[in-house]
Amino acid sequence: MTVFETEVLLSGPATTASALALTAPISFWGGVDPKTGVIADTRHPQSGQSIAGRVLLVPATVGSSSAAAILLELVHAGLAPAAMVLHEPDAILLLGLIVAKEMGWTTPIALRLDRDQFAALQGSQLDISEAGTISRRSETPPSR
């Protein structure tokens, strides 16, 4: 088991889920379908994969300032990632979680971790604690 210590950006419940490490920046608006949680941007390397219930590792975001709205909608629809790991705090995206908390909805934990570490987590089953510790359990291949 490998352990990664991260900084908690926004608190949320502990979780266990498989990692989906994005290998390119993503625009949530136009990039993720809020009705399904599937990456819809055909130009994105992880196009067609679902972020719902995954530990989503986001190296960077690009594009529209509506990212928070998509994330809020994903939370409301029960299609949010189980946890979000960002290379750096992103106000546009994390606002979706801040507002979801204000609305009284259960929001995923958001963590900060250097994106250099992302590749080591890709596809693995991860245990994430409330304190932000990520433990890698197994070497499951990335789902297609």
């Binding site: 960077a60 690009v62 529209s64 705090p89 609305m103």
Partner: protein, 396 residues
């Protein structure tokens, strides 16, 4: 609730204080699902009102009735409730992504909270006002509080260009054409990511609509909230001023190959033998751009519809001058208050091809409309719509 949202964001971003703002542009009134409507109505129910001037970005419904959308009944009702809620909060019903051409032009150096990526880029870069890239919810929260977290582009030291993007190798005639700027913007956004750059080596001062097209494309392909153009934008009378008199971290010389590659990648269609619709107006068309459209149409009718997206500030003048009727008679569908990539206006048609002169439409149309894209100049778009098949190479 608004103040908690502003304060929590300040904590997250490491801002040590809040600063007063003089205006806001609100991107939050576009329906993406019921959650956003519920949030806006929660604010209204709490008695919130905007404390500063706040214009509204596009909604999901064309309230002017110029165009129709295919939203199902539930979505249509929730989108309408959302637009109503934002008006109830005291926002101006401008419904445009080009508020800076609808009379909302904050002064150089003033602190504001603007949403909508192209409006942010324009506000910072062309007007020299100071805003971060505000997302949905934070924009309205700041407008209600009249305050914003003091970090990022609100602060002088973070507005410095660190990368020089030199376009002096590129043909002047190309740089002067309308087709060049969405291409350059796309390339710039991809090269620069989140850094701030200064475009250097231009032999002329690009007009406002070109900078608007550049910023929109750059903010689609990268996280561009501020760019400088030496000799053209207010914080860059020249390259060294934009660099705050420090050496650049990087100097990128743009080549013809890079430009050609960026232009090619703006088209996603794997064939160029048909066109099912033409869409222009992302960002929303200005009066000048409508004039150019009318000049290129020369009174001809189109075979393939041209969806021309704009704000009601322009629509009013088109109506006053009789141009709306003229344009509609020739087959142009004016879309006001909204646009074709944010709400389903284009007919549902698997395998269909959309032609556009907008870098932003080119970026978002495939995922949001299902249409693949052919990118061309405004002239190409008009000639293709008239001919009913793609036509490239017209003067622009």
């Amino acid at each position: 609730m608004a103040m908690r949202i502003v304060a929590e964001t300040a904590r997250l971003m490491g801002a040590t204080r809040l600063i007063p703002i003089v205006s806001a542009h609100i991107d939050g009134a576009l329906y993406h699902g019921d959650s956003g409507t519920l949030f806006a109505e929660r604010l209204v129910a709490g008695g919130a009102r905007t404390a500063v001037r706040a214009t509204l970005n596009v909604g999901a419904i064309d309230l002017t009735g110029c165009s129709r959308n295919r939203l199902p009944p539930h979505e249509l009702a929730m989108a309408g409730r959302m637009m109503t809620a934002y008006k109830a909060l005291g926002c101006e019903p401008t419904w445009t992504c080009a508020p800076y051409q609808a009379g909302h032009r904050p002064r150089f150096g003033s602190q504001v909270a603007w949403g909508e990526s192209n409006a942010v880029a324009f506000c910072n870069s062309v007007l020299g006002a100071r805003t971060n890239r505000y997302g949905d919810f934070l924009d309205i929260a700041c407008a209600i509080c009249g305050r914003a977290p003091d970090y990022g582009l609100h602060r002088d030291e973070n507005r410095r260009a660190t990368v020089v993007v030199d376009v002096s190798q590129i043909d002047d005639a190309f740089l002067a054409s309308d087709v060049a700027w969405p291409v350059l913007g796309t390339l710039y956004g991809r090269l620069i990511g989140e850094a701030i750059g200064v475009i250097s080596g231009l032999a002329f001062r690009p007009r406002e609509d070109l900078l608007k097209a550049f910023g929109a494309a750059a903010a689609s392909s990268g996280s561009v909230g501020l760019f400088h153009v030496a000799g053209a934008t207010p914080e860059a009378p020249d390259e060294v001023t934009a660099l705050h008199w420090l050496p650049p971290v990087e100097r990128i010389v743009v080549t013809d190959d890079m430009v050609r590659d960026a232009q090619r990648r703006l088209s996603t269609a794997d064939r160029a033998d048909r066109v099912d619709a033409v869409a222009i107006g992302s960002p929303h068309l200005s009066l000048d751009e409508f004039d150019a459209l009318r000049r290129l149409l020369m009174g001809r009718s189109v075979v393939v519809p041209i969806y021309a997206c704009t704000g009601r500030h322009v629509l009013r003048i088109l109506e006053r001058d009789g141009h709306r009727r003229q344009l509609e008679a020739s087959g142009v569908i004016i879309v006001a208050d909204t646009c074709v990539v944010v709400t389903p206006i284009l007919p549902e048609q698997p395998g269909a091809i959309l032609m556009t002169n907008s870098g932003k439409f080119s970026h978002y149309a495939p995922a949001n409309t299902g249409y693949s894209v052919l990118y061309g100049s405004l002239s190409d778009c008009v000639e293709s719509a008239v001919a009913g098949v793609p036509r490239f190479g017209g003067a622009s």
